[in-house]
């Protein structure tokens, strides 16, 4: 069973009758999502000793995302975000024997963890800010004897708002900076990026919501999944 089918089957289980109570904005939850990840990067490496050039083109793929948040002392919260996707990659190897093409997948892993603070604007709307430690890893393995693997760690910051549009529906948006949000695959060097995100949550049953987010940047992604509240009402 493919990863997509596995996640779809899991999501189907969540479609249950709703009997929700009015809810506030919550900061203690765990979320699992199916994610569509766009990388869209090209790279080229030439080995002059053997007279060979390897060109690769990373495209898009899918995977899973796990996110968790824990409301702590007063208005602070701690969070972690783990994204693991398999990304399609096309390769073209050129040498004295001719040109050879191949297709494969590589692992894209992005991990963030940090702390944040929320400011309630009203009982149903918060703005928040957070600082994080960010890690991005692209694991290609060996392609035609060329190692395109690269990873780096850095810092991140996010500012956003969350609002309860109704008793069951949450809407949210954020702007996020990360120092490891872009990469030059030819050199393996990382660069910063600023991403814009929007999302929603719909409470299916007390403590359980379906959730979706879209984030636009150099590594854009869309995810849909479910969120389980870790606190009792």
């Amino acid at each position: 069973m493919s990863r997509s089918a596995s996640l779809f089957a899991a999501l189907l289980l969540m479609v249950v009758s709703s009997s929700a109570l009015a809810q506030d904005i919550r900061y203690s939850w765990f979320e699992i999502s199916y994610v569509v990840q766009d990388v869209d990067k090209d790279a080229s490496r030439t080995d002059v000793l053997i007279g060979q050039t390897a060109d690769i083109s990373a495209q898009d793929g899918d995977g899973v995302k796990f996110r968790g948040s824990l409301g702590t002392w007063q208005n602070f919260f701690a969070f972690v975000d783990f994204n693991s996707s398999d990304i399609d990659v096309d390769a073209l190897v050129t040498n004295s024997q001719g040109q050879f093409s191949a297709g494969d997948e590589f692992d894209f892993t992005a991990i963030r963890g940090g702390v944040g603070y929320r400011w309630p604007l009203s009982p149903k709307t918060d703005v928040y800010g957070a600082l994080s430690f960010d890690s991005t890893d692209l694991d290609f393995g060996i392609i035609a004897n060329e190692n395109f693997d690269t990873d780096d760690n850095g810092i991140g910051a996010v500012a956003g708002f969350r609002t309860m549009f109704s008793d069951k529906v949450e809407l949210r948006a954020n702007v996020r900076y990360t120092s490891v949000g872009d990469v030059d695959l030819t050199t393996g060097e990382f660069d910063s990026d600023t991403l814009i995100g929007i999302g929603f949550g719909y409470e299916l049953i007390r403590g359980l919501s379906i959730t979706g987010d879209f984030e636009s940047g150099e590594f854009s992604s869309f995810n849909i999944g479910f969120r389980l509240d870790l606190d009792e009402d």
Partner: protein, 416 residues
């Protein structure tokens, strides 16, 4: 090579367990209670990389069915003596890949006898599993005893063969006064592998002795001091045994009537071959919380552990189980089991590893006795090459496993 191995075979252990059980059972039939709780499970499973291969062309996509039978046989007498025997059989069949079929057997037994100022306990466990299931640690939402969380897997799930493991763990607790007690615990493991490629996984025994002193500091806090010693003895003509000694100090505190915290920190020194030694910081933090609809167990542990690699390793482990009842019939669970293992010994058949398994489970109580469980697990394993192996990069693999269980448990009360 080290000292003579502690020879203890299955028959002698069973006899020992039986004799102790019979000896401690009362002769009177008064206030005795027997309980028999059978659980039958049938299910379907799909795993897109069951052998956790790092290469796409070597991944094994398994689809099959599962059968499991378990019985909890409990005996108790007036809160003085209790005995639990828990046999379990787990059968996995894959019609299109029958070479991965497995029949795994587990036996858990625990005997506890309480006297006026002391408690004696005796635990004997036996597992016989395929290497593919035994060497891959699994998140378990139902685990109740932190001491039962395994920490001896190697991640070498691509091998054929079987693993047999005995665990014998007697303990004695003595109440010195109203505020203090001492406890001695021995934890003996005897692990052997059959039908595997020689040198990939190595038979071993691992014995640990813990001596605890516990003293009440306040109505909500106890102080704890532990002195520990261990011997890891691989059954190999080249590999040396590892002896270790350590000390820990810490406390357990009731943060609220429903929340409990235990924190311990210390050091452990491990002797190596050729006079070398290694001293490491060890410890653990455990948080348990039980509310009306929520049950939480979270533990971080840094410890020296042994496994079939032929040496001991320093392992940072995170275990978290979270269960929440969503309504009268549905509950959800989250599980995290993650570790980072670093080899301590010079010689090992495996390298350092990072492992993460995230589990999510939904349980639907159709009736009190009939339950449907849907379970999803995402697993990541990063492997570095073993010491001395050159020309091999770190390898990363991941898998997605989804299973659907139909459970019949006529005498088991739902926990949430």
């Amino acid at each position: 090579m080290g000292s003579p191995r502690m020879a203890m075979n299955g028959k002698s252990l069973l006899v020992l367990c039986g004799v102790l059980a019979i000896g401690m059972l009362p002769k009177s039939a008064e206030a005795q209670e027997w309980r028999f709780e059978p659980i039958l499970k049938a299910g379907l499973v799909s795993d897109d990389n069951a052998n956790l291969s790092a290469r796409l062309d070597e991944e094994v996509d398994l689809n099959g069915y599962l059968l499991e039978a378990r019985a909890d046989i409990k005996y108790s007498l007036s809160n003085i003596t209790s005995f639990l025997l828990q046999p379990r059989v787990s059968i996995k069949e894959y019609p299109d890949d029958s070479e991965f079929d497995s029949d795994d057997f587990y036996l858990r037994s625990t005997l506890i006898h309480r006297a006026q100022s002391s408690t004696i306990g005796f635990r004997v466990n036996f597992d016989q599993q395929s290497v593919r299931t035994a060497e891959r640690t699994e998140s378990d939402l139902e685990i109740e005893d932190p001491d039962e969380i395994p920490d001896d897997d190697t991640g070498r799930v691509g091998l054929d063969g079987d693993r047999s493991r005995w665990r014998v763990s007697p303990y004695w607790n003595y109440q010195l006064s109203n505020v203090s007690s001492v406890e001695a615990t021995v934890d003996y493991f005897n692990t052997s592998y059959d039908d595997i490629i020689p040198g990939t996984l190595i038979d071993y025994t691992d014995t640990r002795l813990n001596l605890n002193y516990r003293r009440s500091i306040s109505s909500t806090t106890n102080g704890i001091i532990t002195v520990t010693g261990r011997r890891y003895d691989p059954d190999d003509v080249i590999l040396e045994e590892n002896n270790g000694y350590g000390v820990l100090g810490g406390f357990e505190r009731a943060l609220s009537p429903k929340t409990r915290l235990v924190a311990m920190v210390g050091v452990e020194n491990t002797d190596q071959a050729m006079g070398q030694s290694d001293t490491d910081l060890i410890g653990n933090v455990t948080l348990t919380r039980e509310l009306e609809t929520i049950r939480l167990f979270a533990r971080y542990q840094r410890a020296i552990t042994g496994n079939g690699s032929g040496t001991v390793e320093l392992r940072d482990t995170l275990n978290m189980n979270f269960n929440r009842r969503l309504n009268e019939r549905i509950s959800a669970g989250l599980g995290v089991r993650a570790y980072q293992a670093e080899q301590i010994g010079e010689f090992s058949t495996i390298g350092d590893r990072d492992y993460v398994q995230l589990q999510t489970q939904f349980t639907w109580y159709v009736t009190k006795a009939f339950v449907i469980e849907a379970d999803y697990r995402y697993t990541v394993l990063d492997r570095s090459p073993a010491a001395g192996v050159v020309g091999v990069n770190e390898q990363r693999s991941n898998s997605n496993e989804i299973s659907l269980w139909f459970v019949y448990q006529p005498k088991t009360a739902p926990r949430l």
